[in-house]
């Protein structure tokens, strides 16, 4: 059965056929599907790539190492999708890559996905000693990303900071205050109404 789903993707002979078979494979949530789902990210078929990313995110941490291993030397489009899968999974092993992508990637859709992902890292997977340092890097990076020239990346940075604020509410109340202060600045200064409104929504939730 599992094998059949994988073969169906290999045999798909149309764009829509590929999307449908990848959706089926993703929904099956089987570990054996990981290499195939990662391969699909490089097919330059956005519909299929979205389905493959969804499938990889559902599979969660078991997909993290294969994704990281495959990233080097991968074509740009596929890298972007892989980074979005890692952002969706939130495993701290992808943290360095997300930190770098959120600031430096040239595509705003990747910066936006990475910024959001930084707010939803599964911190429990790190030791207490590691958490503080990693959260500090996320905090500083998201403050920087909240000044991105693209509105949608700044919006994603607010979502990321909102997520981080919830994670550190109890453990690091100082950061929570700093994040709230940044949100107030955004409300007063951001030129995009949607970004200000999202900061407002975060404040209402956190206070």
């Amino acid at each position: 059965m599992n094998n059949q789903l994988i073969q169906a993707v290999e045999k798909a002979d149309s764009s829509q056929g590929l999307i449908d078979t990848v959706k089926d494979l993703a929904a099956a949530q089987i570990e054996d599907a990981i290499p195939m789902l990662i391969t699909v990210l490089g097919y330059n078929n956005p519909g299929a790539a979205v389905a493959a990313v969804d499938g990889l995110v559902l599979l969660g941490e078991t997909a993290v190492l294969p994704l990281l291993e495959k990233l080097d030397g991968y074509n740009y489009g596929a890298r972007a999708w892989a980074i979005r899968a890692l952002a969706g999974i939130g495993d701290p092993r992808g943290l360095d890559l997300l930190l770098d992508s959120a600031v430096n990637d040239f595509s705003f859709s990747v910066r936006r996905g990475a910024a959001r992902g930084l707010g939803f890292i599964d911190w429990e997977k790190l030791s207490e000693a590691e958490v503080f340092d990693a959260q500090q890097r996320v905090f500083l990076t998201l403050l920087q990303v909240s000044q991105d020239p693209e509105w949608v990346v700044r919006y994603a940075a607010v979502v990321g900071l909102h997520g981080l604020a919830k994670a550190v509410e109890v453990s690091a109340p100082k950061w929570l205050e700093d994040i709230l202060t940044r949100f107030e600045e955004i409300i007063d200064t951001d030129t995009t109404l949607a970004v200000s409104a999202r900061a407002q929504m975060a404040i209402a939730d956190l206070r």
Binding site: S107, S109, Y155, I187, L193, A194, A197, Q200, A204
Partner: protein, 289 residues
Amino acid sequence: MEQQYLELPSEEVSENGESLTVEEAIANLRHEELGKRYYAAWWLGRFRVNIPAAVEGLISALEDDSDRTEDGGYPLRRNAARSLGKLEDKKAVPALIKCLESSDYYVREAAAEALEMLGDPSCISALIKLLDGGVEVAVLVPGKPHLVQPYEDIIEALGKLQAQSAIPLIKPFIEHPVEKVQYAAARALYQLTGEAVYGEYLTQALDGDNLQLRRSALMDLGAIGYLPAAKAISETLAENSMKLIALKGLLEHHLTINSKVNTQKSKVESQLLLSDEAIEVMTLMDSLL
């Protein structure tokens, strides 16, 4: 308008092509090489150089006779009209109205779009004139990929400009055979009448099986800020980037209307009143990042 849909970084645009200073670009509008004129006209719009010298230079370029295509089109005039739309200087309006009578379809199209962006109602009667003959004459030009007039842009502009007198003229276009013209009519009629039936018409278009048309309906819904479409927008099969732009349109339209209602309050205070609908739209946006 197309530019914003692409997932290209804004930084990259400036790296491609020639880098210019503002003075060079304005001077290049009269450069002996036609290619440089064409590029300069685009450049001034791209970087929104809305200083009087740029606007005047572009207005003069609307009468250019040197740059011609094989079938008589005016490439420089097209670029100049497009850029003038972005520069927000209403001084350009009379010259753009004149362009609506150009023999070049693409000059008329660019002028209608620019007039929509400038938002000056003095062009309404000239736009309405292009709807003469109604749907019956709104047919394809033989051998060309376009209709006799840029109906989409004309109708959208009339909607944006709140041209109430155009309502009976626009209504028949909702049955035009070209879907994008139908959508433009629905979009304008929603803006002119506020009737939900037109918003619903566009919402249903999100279910269609042509990606280009779904994208078109997304942009229309974002432009009119039709709030009940939020969920359908988040679920239609299209790029998340475009869905996010459409949802941003809904959200900001809604927030602007709400803050107008609360005119007594300061900016910050009025934003404190995020409605349940606004929060729902933002929650959908979060899920698309």
